[in-house]
Assembly symmetry: C2
Homo-oligomer: 195 residues x 2
């Protein structure tokens, strides 16, 4: 079998841009859903302004409470990796920080993912696997679709499926601000990368 | 904001086990769907026997043709990462090898993903993002569910959604052999990790 040299490279590395660091050191605690979503929106906006990726930001917090476990921003183009959605990066970093493939600890503290846009099919599936117990969304799927983003096979029953398995879903938190970042990206970009 | 030390670690690393290497150097070309699926099944079986992960293997090939672009095996427990399904790893490594977040090149060669079990919701979404043009599956979703695996919100219309967007889907290739690896895992494991 003829193999390209790259075939023998058995490692994938995903990184967040360095500009993210100050967001992680923020002293003001986020305690309400709006405050937590504001952090995710700020990450999304910065990602667009710095040109490091698409217009979505995400953050995983203990739920309830102010403890931030991880953040993510879309890095698909920067990393050459179609999996590197904000939500996926935040989930993987949160698990890494906890040292486990699941964030769900029996009788332990719960966790919530804040994302500035309703997740695509991949990210919604990942939420289920991650053991997150709450998913909080900003802009609706329709806002992303309207800008030419593909969102994948997500149906009303997809959300019900997660709810039936113990994932609480909250939608429309800071939707206007989250949608504004989608628009900002469209204005600044030559095209939607996956349009 | 109080942050755990791990919060400042901005990198995720995903690796395949070293035992995968001989599979990548195989001299005998795989040209039929059955031959390509046999490689994926062999990877899945080896992953179970070596205790390096769950009972699913995957491989990305040029389509048609014998060129192998990447392989993947489930590494969820080993890596402490719920995203590290065989399909996700294979997709990310294939993109890395091609140096692009999409495997779809206008007027260029096409690519197919071979997976020993019908993908979960996350992996099915990832197929769409990756630009793969064909998805070839071994064991049916029901075989995984019957063993206690969770598969997430995948519906008949999920497959139609992908087909409508140019992804050809083939099911049931070496289903018996792929299912046998699922059973082998169950026999050898104390429990299904996400049951």
């Amino acid at each position: 079998m003829k193999t390209a040299p790259a075939l023998n490279h058995l490692e994938i590395k995903l990184t967040l841009p360095d500009w993210v660091r100050p967001f992680l050191k923020k002293n003001s605690p986020c305690s309400t859903d709006e405050e937590k979503m504001r952090l995710a929106v700020a990450l999304a906006r910065e990602n667009v302004l710095r040109g490091t990726g698409g217009p979505v930001g995400a953050a995983v917090f203990r739920d309830p409470g102010p403890e931030l476990l991880a953040v993510g921003v879309n890095g698909v183009e920067r990393l050459g990796n179609s999996v590197a959605h904000a939500e996926m990066v935040a989930i993987m970093l949160a698990e890494q920080g906890q040292g486990s493939y699941t964030l769900r600890i029996p009788a332990g503290p719960k966790t919530a993912l804040f994302t500035t846009c309703e997740p695509c099919a991949m990210c919604l599936g990942a939420v289920l696997w991650s053991g997150l117990t709450r998913l909080v969304c900003g802009a609706p799927r329709e806002a992303a679709l309207a800008l030419g983003f593909e969102e994948g096979p997500v149906f009303p029953e997809s959300y019900r499926y997660l709810e039936d398995r113990g994932v609480e879903i909250v939608r429309g938190v800071l939707a206007g601000e989250a949608r504004a970042v989608l628009r900002l990206y469209q204005e600044r970009s030559e095209g939607i990368y996956n349009g």
